[in-house]
Subunit: 123 residues, 2 copies
Amino acid sequence: MRQTKTRKKLLALLTSARRPISVADLLSHLSVNKTTVYRQLDSLVKAGQVTEVRFSDRKVRYELASLPHHHHLVCTACDSVRDIDLPDDIESIASKFPNRDGFVIQNHYLEFFGLCAKCSRHE
Amino acid sequence: MRQTKTRKKLLALLTSARRPISVADLLSHLSVNKTTVYRQLDSLVKAGQVTEVRFSDRKVRYELASLPHHHHLVCTACDSVRDIDLPDDIESIASKFPNRDGFVIQNHYLEFFGLCAKCSRHE
DNA sequence: ATGAATGCAAATCGTTTGCATCGCA
DNA sequence: TGCGATGCAAACGATTTGCATTCAT
């Protein structure tokens, strides 16, 4: 992979962001073609540097893969996102449970939805 | 809400299916316009009779809301889906954990991805 | 008969592809 | 200089919308 400006800027944005970012968000901070962003993200995901995150809408969001494994609290009112650390890794909980008929779990996807402090006050 | 043929047929399909179904799937078993299916599903979701499920692709799948709360094992090779029952409800695990700064969790979304028995053999 | 449900076509939105050009290594 | 990176326009797939028509109550 080449060391291009776009790539550096993309990684910088992903690093400084504290939450998963959508392509639209990235585009508003970059002056590059959206196709390029999609392609860069794609290769970063394939290279294992970036992770895809999906919330309840149709667009994919992206996050640095180097972040420790964690999950999100998504506010359904204002769309704000914060991290949540769970006491036990869900994967290990699932693996304790036997009847999976040889299904090999590779990863999981867990997000929590609700109202953030601000929105639950004003609601 | 009216008691229409489409609605009955839709609910019948959702009932007989053992896994979350996409709109495309539903359409292949019905002779109605896709717009109608989308609108029916929308009102069923709003009425709390049907639940949206999202896997790793971009399309939404639908499931009867009357099913007991559960999660899925999704095979990334053949797209088959089976249910998994977790020993503890994740919501209760999350609620045990304090530092959420007033965030009120309303629901969560959890899916497991991996290889089903058949695909992990042939892989 | 009246408003909800339906069908159809066109629009929208996020994402992908084809193809020509550009620029690191 | 060669191949990966980029831009642009057009294609694509899932979903939504506008509007006229039909049907359940």
